[in-house]
Subunit: 262 residues, 3 copies
């Protein structure tokens, strides 16, 4: 199966401009992840320019990690542009179960029909309206416990829904896949989930949302495996991970991807 | 003496949710420091949710490094929640001597009775009302020169006061300790002081403020020593430091801690 | 030729306080770059203190990467202080060609007479009013294509203008230099251009703008060459780069600098 490597090649060939309205914690590592992978990141949020800038981008990510009402408004403005242009955008509902503000922000964003929603199990459960036990950005529920919620959320929202965890689950409400790539150190480095949104968006800029998401997860997780094999802990993991994203060949991705229909 | 290692164990077992309202420079490294140590970080500041979120957290840190009046208000809102719940919070008065805005912001925050105040010598001198020569985040005064000011500030504010430097000084206004762990490269990496606040908060979430602060400083400084021994400069120091925080055993901490009653 | 090393020595001896009003992506790496080089960074933007703080600084950098109108106002306030005090400030017109907001923000800042303007070729072309093809922070035009625009912009604005690229071009509108130091991985790490502004400002704090800019570019690019020789990709490049900035000797800089009059 050579589809994952082909998608990586296509993404690098186009080097899509990915517009990110994300949290303060993630901005630097997310930009570095996108540059290492071969895409072109930009972080722009001012109301004075966010719609105009979204019009230049091939894909958008929004992330409510450190948002306030002004930032949520900027996300809505940019999402509207992408929706009207038929270009993909990714929603990350960070910690959506924690506060009423996050629930309302995400409800408004889901209503704008994101192309892809990616979160951990607790976030997807909370977003789907199911009781979740997560707090902050760390998941307290298993991926398996969130599969039904992911299916329901995909059907209700029209989005591809990806649940991140030791084994990821991805569905468009009809088809579903499991991606087993990844490394146990990854949750110990902040904003790697947030940064993954950028990779998903970059892949989705050059292909259909469901296979793009699956290939992006395999690429990201496999780079994590390679970094984990070289790292002595979460500190040395991070440079090794960026190197692995940069050095990944299409052949290595196709060989290492662990994807199964669910 | 096995108390430091025991506290590290207890902190990791509880993995406290530490709510941080900190500066833009520190957010990423602070989250990575907390994750490497075994705690669970969250950065939340919007007025729309900051009180609700503080209610979920086991400890709070506030840091005025890049604050504006809205951010200071958010810090006050979260500190109020912690104070009412009897949960610990840490104030970092970054560059308090530099501008009138910082002085007023810190005066308001000290009035809310932080559990712990941590700064460099110049910041503690300025906060205590003593003439200081520091500018920005870099200390221009020695720790020894700030010991009396730290004692006075602790007695007046009710906080444990920690003065960071080559040898740290910690006091609750009655007892005092010196912690000699650390490495000369640490001031050459930005926001390591800010990030230390998170570790202090995580330890204080599971124990009394004075011993928690002392053990947190020893743990942090010892990890710095281990990283410094492997680093070629401030760049390679940073991954090695996160690895050291992650790999530190309670036994190694008890063996390496350099703590003395003052 | 020993002038570059002498300037590095002088900068380290004075350790100038460099005030930065920059984008969220750059803040951490920019502070680390300045600390590694031997300067003292501070990030301050609140209207309540930005003018007072600028009064304490030896140099200023402003960067519109993630700006909004409030941040642009803060940049103008700080630039005014530096202009009145006769101290140097550096403007980075990130992505100026992308939106009307950026064009207007930069027009206002250029009118305040920056000491130095640094950007990539697309940004300098756009700022000079010449058609450019760049988008976001990545250049789509060659340095050579921007030399005439840089000359014209320097003459019109009174600033030293530096065009970053594989070979940098620096001019005050009369004299011009090319700096050939650098490494192909540098554009693959985010905010290295933004961080360079800090180094230019630190050198300009202790010397004349044109030679200071040239020496800063040589120092930065040579550190990049040393890091690139040790790196396996953009991840391992970053710690190696900070180590190289920290460990650079004046002698190594004078030996390795590749500067020519244009």
């Amino acid at each position: 199966m050579t589809e994952h490597g082909t998608r990586l090649d296509q993404m690098r060939a186009q080097a899509p401009l990915v517009h990110n309205i994300t949290n303060y914690v993630a901005m630097n590592i997310m930009a570095n992840v996108l540059l290492a992978a071969g895409a072109s990141p930009a972080m722009v949020h001012a109301h004075a320019e966010v719609s105009e800038f979204a019009g230049l981008a091939q894909a958008l990510t929004v992330n409510i990690g450190t948002a306030d009402p002004d930032w949520v408004k900027a996300m809505e403005m940019a999402a509207q542009v992408m929706a009207e242009a038929g270009r993909p955008w990714v929603l990350d509902p960070v910690g959506v179960g924690a506060t009423r503000f996050r629930q309302e922000a995400c409800a408004g964003l889901v209503a704008l029909r994101p192309t892809i929603i990616r979160g951990n199990a607790s976030e997807i459960l909370a977003l789907a309206g199911t009781a979740a036990t997560g707090r902050g950005a760390d998941a307290a529920d298993s991926v398996a416990a969130a599969e039904d919620a992911a299916q329901a959320l995909a059907q209700r929202s029209g989005a591809v829904v990806a649940v991140s965890g030791p084994e990821d689950f991805v569905t468009d409400g009809q088809q579903a896949f499991r991606v087993a790539n990844g490394h146990a150190l990854m949750p110990r480095i902040t904003a790697l989930g947030c940064s993954l949104n950028g990779i998903i968006a970059a892949f989705a800029a050059v292909g259909l949302a469901l296979p793009a998401t699956v290939s992006a997860l395999a690429y990201y997780g496999l780079a994590g495996e390679q970094a984990g094999a070289r790292a002595d802990g979460p500190g040395s993991f991070q440079p090794a991970f960026l190197d692995a994203l940069y050095n990944m060949t299409p052949q290595a991705l196709d060989t290492g991807a662990q994807v199964q229909a669910a």
